[in-house]
Symmetry: C2
């Protein structure tokens, strides 16, 4: 049974018309949202999707993103709560978790629109408006915090926000896939250090998901089984790449890891997306995800840049083939050394990993983490 | 008619058994190669390919690469010629262009072997030995040089070496695709600053090439035409993204560019690979390629990291479908700012570009370059 979320939502609107949603923890004082006093000019959005005929994939051009906020000093962080003397993206003086529409989105536009491809430039030049939704999720008002430093209760509030946004964006016409993710660390280009993640509502099924589902379809035709579930079972049986298991979740370094640090986290039950998890699975997730991040950061205490991304089923297709899971990847290959995607990966898509997945799993198991 | 190469080859062997080939320009004094006096220990190669069932792709694990030479000081560069007091990878005191087997290769092994997949670990864990060939190509003995600073005659010698290696590696059993490329710039992780490129002989057709050829096959079935040739013709007809044209080559920023700086260079005639170019095309290439690099570096004089990669037909398949071309890409999106592959690109394969391809083409056309 889908979970009952434990947060209290308060919806408001920023001065340029963008939506902002407070997710307060149960027991927090009632909130009457303050108005945004900034009189923000609206950003001229010029998002366009173009079809790359060499791969069959959409590429998005979002020119207005060139002017986005870039590594602001700590005392100008737009994700801090507002104060008497400084107005930020969040009008209120405090928050638990807050979600708002990105001011410099890769995809934008009113709900109800679906991109209509145009070949006005000729059949080799197919394009469409980049209609979709990009949201920012602030995990805490503590500028110097990190997801890994949240309490399990706050982690659950963030996860509840993910579930809520997955449900809401999935219901909007034109959105085909909801992607919940966190980019963490300056080494991977994060332009705001305040702990936050993002949510993309894509107007198409992403290339990686399309590839995975094609493999899963072929696998089902060949064997009758579910590719993801069978892989999970095989990793559990092999054992040597398991990082941790809980009542409802299993984390492992995959047999064919591409990144020097890569952990996959699967619910033990096959579900299409975050919105389908039940209450016990969500509670369990808040502890096991904290444990994974703490093990990863514990393995490289100096700095572990990472990307954590949720692989969810498309909204309108293949929901029985897909299997919700999280992939946390890092370019850290050693203290002081990063993995770069050079010619083989960037040009040919041919991945070379310098680390044995079994060794990485053993390293992660060896990190001692305090209980969440 | 395939070109007659203009270089004189001298083949020798390094102390650990790796092959080294001098490509001297016509008119250079005769060479009697000096022996390698280093008594190098051989590197324990542990290259393994693993099948990623979620994508159907091979991922290579090359653990010994963790110990590769990393950002050595200028006076310890292993790609300089040897001197009386310092022995490097190149035993002779001078060279024009030199190619040798990489000491820390992603693929290695004797010719004649083909990888035999093993499912000893069970059907979900298919693996094979990473048999193939990785070579280093030094463009000049000038440690502080750059490809863009070569003379057209030297550029032609490098190109002749590419042609020679494409021919030779294509003839080796087990090699399915030859990839000629250059990674340039510390920002993309280049660990040796000496001007050099690389050549990979893969034991499989790479994922990107597989995808492109599938699209080209579907396009031919749909239209009867060649996808690459029709795209080239459409870009020439559109005109606005053309960077430069010569007698035999056309360079443009593609309509659906993924990277903030991306230039594709096509021969006007459809050929499968570098080995099929004729003498006039090779001569022309040495000028037009220098012009492209000079325009790109002229656009961002402070620093332009780039990856230049040749898309060649597989050795044994689809040689009529493929169309040789070069893609030069850069992560530079503005002075002082780089494009990073974060969640959308790294996890979902969904690309967001902040720059309009038409603007990038105009920028490149506006750079004034001295004639090569």
């Amino acid at each position: 049974m889908p979970a009952v979320l434990r947060t209290r939502k308060t919806v408001t609107t920023l001065s340029d018309g963008r939506e902002l949603i407070y997710f307060d923890e149960i027991g927090a004082p009632p909130r009457t949202p303050l108005p945004d006093r900034r009189n923000l000019p609206s950003v001229d959005l010029t998002t366009q999707m173009r079809r790359d005929l060499l791969t069959g994939e959409w590429v998005t051009v979002a020119q207005h993103r060139q002017t986005r906020t870039y590594l602001p000093p700590d005392d100008e962080c737009p994700l801090d709560p507002s104060t008497e003397t400084r107005l930020t993206e969040i009008p209120d003086p405090s928050y638990d978790v807050v979600v708002f529409e990105n001011r410099f989105p890769s995809f934008a536009g009113l709900p109800g629109g679906e991109p209509v491809p145009s070949e006005a430039g000729g059949p080799m030049f197919s394009q469409a408006a980049g209609i979709g939704r990009c949201e920012v999720v602030c995990f805490t008002s503590d500028h110097d915090g990190a997801f890994s430093a949240l309490s399990p209760a706050r982690a659950r509030t963030v996860i509840d926000a993910w579930v809520d946004r997955t449900r809401e964006l999935s219901a909007r016409p034109g959105i085909e896939q909801v992607f919940v993710f966190e980019n963490r660390g300056r080494e991977i280009g994060v332009t705001l250090s305040h702990p936050h993640g993002q949510i993309y509502g894509y107007p198409y099924v992403t290339p990686r998901t399309t590839t995975m589902l094609a493999e899963a379809r072929a696998y089902r035709e060949r064997t009758g089984g579910n590719l993801f579930a069978d892989l999970l079972a095989a990793e559990i049986a092999a054992g040597e790449r398991i990082v941790t298991r809980s009542a409802h979740w299993t984390a492992f370094v995959p047999f064919a890891a591409r990144w020097p640090m890569e952990v996959h986290l699967y619910p033990n039950r096959q579900v299409p997306d975050l919105a389908a998890l039940d209450d016990a699975e969500l509670d369990d997730l808040s502890s096991v995800y904290l444990e994974i991040l703490r093990r990863m950061e514990g393995a490289y205490p100096d700095s572990l840049p990472y990307i954590a991304g949720w692989y969810q089923a498309p909204v309108h297709a293949d929901r029985d083939l897909a299997h919700l899971h999280l992939q946390v990847i890092s370019i850290r290959r050693a203290p002081g050394k990063l993995k770069y995607l050079a010619g083989s990966e960037s040009s040919m898509g041919a991945w070379i990993n310098d680390l044995m997945p079994e060794d990485v799993a053993a390293l992660l198991r060896s990190v001692s983490v305090p209980p969440a």
